[in-house]
Symmetry: D5
Subunit: 146 residues, 10 copies
Amino acid sequence: MKKEEMKEAILKAKYDKGLKWDSLAEAAGLSPEFTCSACLGMNHLEKKSADAVATLLDLGEDVSIALQKYPLKTWSQVVPTDPVIYRWYEIVGVYGETIKEIISDKFGDGIMSAIDFSMNIEKQEDPNGDRVVVTLNGKFLPYKSW
Amino acid sequence: MKKEEMKEAILKAKYDKGLKWDSLAEAAGLSPEFTCSACLGMNHLEKKSADAVATLLDLGEDVSIALQKYPLKTWSQVVPTDPVIYRWYEIVGVYGETIKEIISDKFGDGIMSAIDFSMNIEKQEDPNGDRVVVTLNGKFLPYKSW
Amino acid sequence: MKKEEMKEAILKAKYDKGLKWDSLAEAAGLSPEFTCSACLGMNHLEKKSADAVATLLDLGEDVSIALQKYPLKTWSQVVPTDPVIYRWYEIVGVYGETIKEIISDKFGDGIMSAIDFSMNIEKQEDPNGDRVVVTLNGKFLPYKSW
Amino acid sequence: MKKEEMKEAILKAKYDKGLKWDSLAEAAGLSPEFTCSACLGMNHLEKKSADAVATLLDLGEDVSIALQKYPLKTWSQVVPTDPVIYRWYEIVGVYGETIKEIISDKFGDGIMSAIDFSMNIEKQEDPNGDRVVVTLNGKFLPYKSW
Amino acid sequence: MKKEEMKEAILKAKYDKGLKWDSLAEAAGLSPEFTCSACLGMNHLEKKSADAVATLLDLGEDVSIALQKYPLKTWSQVVPTDPVIYRWYEIVGVYGETIKEIISDKFGDGIMSAIDFSMNIEKQEDPNGDRVVVTLNGKFLPYKSW
Amino acid sequence: MKKEEMKEAILKAKYDKGLKWDSLAEAAGLSPEFTCSACLGMNHLEKKSADAVATLLDLGEDVSIALQKYPLKTWSQVVPTDPVIYRWYEIVGVYGETIKEIISDKFGDGIMSAIDFSMNIEKQEDPNGDRVVVTLNGKFLPYKSW
Amino acid sequence: MKKEEMKEAILKAKYDKGLKWDSLAEAAGLSPEFTCSACLGMNHLEKKSADAVATLLDLGEDVSIALQKYPLKTWSQVVPTDPVIYRWYEIVGVYGETIKEIISDKFGDGIMSAIDFSMNIEKQEDPNGDRVVVTLNGKFLPYKSW
Amino acid sequence: MKKEEMKEAILKAKYDKGLKWDSLAEAAGLSPEFTCSACLGMNHLEKKSADAVATLLDLGEDVSIALQKYPLKTWSQVVPTDPVIYRWYEIVGVYGETIKEIISDKFGDGIMSAIDFSMNIEKQEDPNGDRVVVTLNGKFLPYKSW
Amino acid sequence: MKKEEMKEAILKAKYDKGLKWDSLAEAAGLSPEFTCSACLGMNHLEKKSADAVATLLDLGEDVSIALQKYPLKTWSQVVPTDPVIYRWYEIVGVYGETIKEIISDKFGDGIMSAIDFSMNIEKQEDPNGDRVVVTLNGKFLPYKSW
Amino acid sequence: MKKEEMKEAILKAKYDKGLKWDSLAEAAGLSPEFTCSACLGMNHLEKKSADAVATLLDLGEDVSIALQKYPLKTWSQVVPTDPVIYRWYEIVGVYGETIKEIISDKFGDGIMSAIDFSMNIEKQEDPNGDRVVVTLNGKFLPYKSW
């Protein structure tokens, strides 16, 4: 079973059962963000977590195996079009250099890792309209000379 | 004075004076992230903040005026190449659909605004290597039917 | 059933029955523009509206369910080629900066939302050739400093 | 004087004098939207209007002549990046096919002209946040067989 | 039946019967150029013409219906590669500004319509090698101020 | 003098003198279309024609020499944006395969040359709106086997 | 049978029979280069040649018919990636202007035809490593004024 | 002196003196094709050849030095537009796979080098129109396993 | 069997049997890197190696034959997205000119071959985190004049 | 002084003095590869190294300061064209997935860092033609779940 088929099977089962990512994450023993990214084919799960997710969704072993495989991370839209995702692309365009400047100021020359990395998404209730609060946490990797 | 010239003048003066964005932000009465983005030409400042930044840097009124103008936000690289900025593009590619899924679960169909938005970048000290912690806070905007 | 299959099924049934978007909209209790966009897979409908549309078209529950799912909004042509749609792309190219200038003048620095948004298309009869009158209504979102 | 230089000169003079597009339009005897588009180099003005705009801004005859020349309408960003303009690109992507469908329903096979065309932008005050209301009016051009 | 399938069916039947576009055009009561473009899926035919074409080719009603539907005009190659079509792209690149200049001289500021438009292709016999003579006839649409 | 500077000088002189391409063509002893294309830098003129054009415009020998040089034909917009030129790009997209089909029918497998080629643009007066009539004449070049 | 299927069938049969392009060319009565290009779908063969190729490969009449059809020449990679083909793209990039200059010197302003054209590929044995010798022969087409 | 300036200086001097590439090549003691490519900035010359070329053109030592520097070979048009150069791009598109097939047949798996490479362009007189004959000679490089 | 199917079959069998590339390489009598690249469809194997790989994986002769065919090397992402592969693209962007400079210094004007080439990937254990050590070995090919 | 100007100044001085990167590296106390990359504007040097490089080249303090600034790493060619650099792009295309597979086998799921990274380029003398041996050494970064 390919990752793409796995993703479709999981999304369909999740919808049919009326589950949220929180439930799948609880089964996997991981955060909802990471669990979701693995179910979408962008990360892999260890066997125990993969089995738990597949079981919760009444899906077979082939789904669990597909979840355990290391993914080839690809996307086809150089500029994403979905408005949710585009807004993030826009943030990178508008604030990318700002991020680089602030990191340079605080850490020196280097990058924020997208591999040694975690992400958390929360709902912040607000009478003027609820807010999405996303926290990204990535290891600072300094450029090294040699 | 064009925004591009303003940006160069500010970066040069900041470097020559050995200042950090924190100092400019304090002068502007705003966060370092927003102040920096305005100095890079991606946001505008109100007159009082603009004057304070220009004064701190010993730059003229033309810099202050340029800071007050509404910017046309453009970038030329469809896929950014600087490693700091690319990693964020990669995060959007790898985790974009995850972000959409989690927001859908928690809020329903809608987006996280990139306009009614703030960003905070902190250094988290860690014996295994310091970490960059970025918090993005954007208003949830539900799709409306009509 | 995927959105793409749903779209094909709806367009075929609409054609075979000789219905117009007005009729589908009436069934859905929404405007023709929004109803059409949902049937094309670019918005979702609430259950009641989705059921009404499916029923009117003698289509099954799978169509109604597909209409209720939150869409991933994607398009594959960076520059659209169909002449109807290209003309709008051209309007954005020719008048985009004008729109920004007039909004800046009237509202200050900010954008017109494409999310908190509605659109109405009318036929204006004219002896020199009928005219298409489109009204777009989007919430003004001011840039905020922080 | 090239259109690009004309545009810069006009924007600078407008800013320095604290004028709005309404004032320039009144001088030109045209709408603010059309006047603005001509000042940005995307349309031309007749001599009388061009002279009036140049006079109001205390700019020379070369600006008036540049305003009268027929423009070559070009833009360099295939996908616009400024958030105001991108939102319109997004509307074309999300609602382009909807526009085509509704026009087909109401008029038959044909397009809405972007040449025999006018645009009006208004501010609609609203306690929940003011709204931008844009009305586009384009002649319907039917496809003809031969 | 989709336009793409209709196109394949028509091209196959035309080849098997050894017919030329002239014959299909005669059946349709239209020019060969327009008839051909409709059979390739880039225009629609009225019922009478569509039925006549389908009958001549011994194809079913589904082909006739497909011919009557309004097409979504799309092409996938931004720069066409087939040498026949590329030469036209090249003509647009080499002579596009010339066309604009001559039209401006003769008509004023405006465009030649690609909608209110016809095209005729003739063979001109020539002892030095026959020549292709193509006549394009499009309505002049003046830019209007408002 | 580069072709680009030559083009600007000619366009300015032509505008200042209020001349039309017809007059330049008469001086050159060529058609307005070819003369214009050479003045825009997309063809070269023989010395006699080049001198005549430069003389008519009161421009120096450097303009004549620039007109005589063989051009490197380049354009920077893969998809042209000016509406006059785009409509031709659209015609190539919509009718390119039609042109190939009709040529195949009438001539066999081969192309219409864009080199051994001429173009004529006329104004056709019409009470319903004047029309632009463009005639393209290119040698048929058959594919050869070997 | 589509050209793409024809190509696959021919390549498979050629491989299974252990034939070289020389043999197919001998059957076709043409050069290996042209015969190969037709079998890959980039040229057409006359009936006699097409039948001979199909017979040699024990393939049916549908292959012969597919070989006889005029191809639509398309390729999907704007920059080819296969190293053999890329090296030619590189030659065009590195030596394209050189080719233009030398042709201009020897022939005047004009092009080398890619239609009235032949190509021959030979193996030149060399103790320092064999060499590929390719001869391209294209008719010179002078630009004409009119 | 940059390569680009060197190229302009050489082309201007060559034009003013009415020289052909043959003469420059004779001075350099190399072929016209290689000499031309070096003068266009796509190869370098040894000191002796560079001095000879500069002397013949009455250009200074800076031109000779620029000719001797190793070039960074770049071109900006992914798809070339000049008709001479485009025809070669088209040959690569149409015949690229043919070249690969014939080389595979005659040599086995490998490429024709674009580095250990020479090119010769000749004029073949022909009563039906002169022909350009180009011979490319590149070392065969076999893929190696390891 | 196409290369793409071969690749899928091999990857599946390798996963199911829990084998590593080292084992396949040992069977093939080649390095793991080359063997892997052939199994992914980017190189071909000689019959003996191909048979050995197929046998080890309990796959049929069609897999062996597919491994022996000369591949057309294509990839669809102009900028790769998978983080492992992107980092290499980034290295080429950041250090490409450095590589050219150092090679020029040490060898003169020429390139490092990607055909007469081998690659070795090793794991270097390190208490601060293991390291990937990749050695690329390519023949220097000097540019030649002619 | 901008990085681009610094690069030009350094390359010119290095050429005029006939120095190699080895000498600059010795002055900087770093490897030739890193020193070169910093001089090309793709890395920064510490003050001591920057001063030493500037002194060796008889360049001023502005060059040293420019060398010390953190660079914004950008490149403009999505696909590089210089043959030296393209061959590396090709290696990424041909062997990118192989690299990913071998790393997965030896380390598990993760990447090879391009930041915690070093590169060494050596000349390997060989009677069949000298070889370029490049060693890349990057830290393995495992994907982490959270």
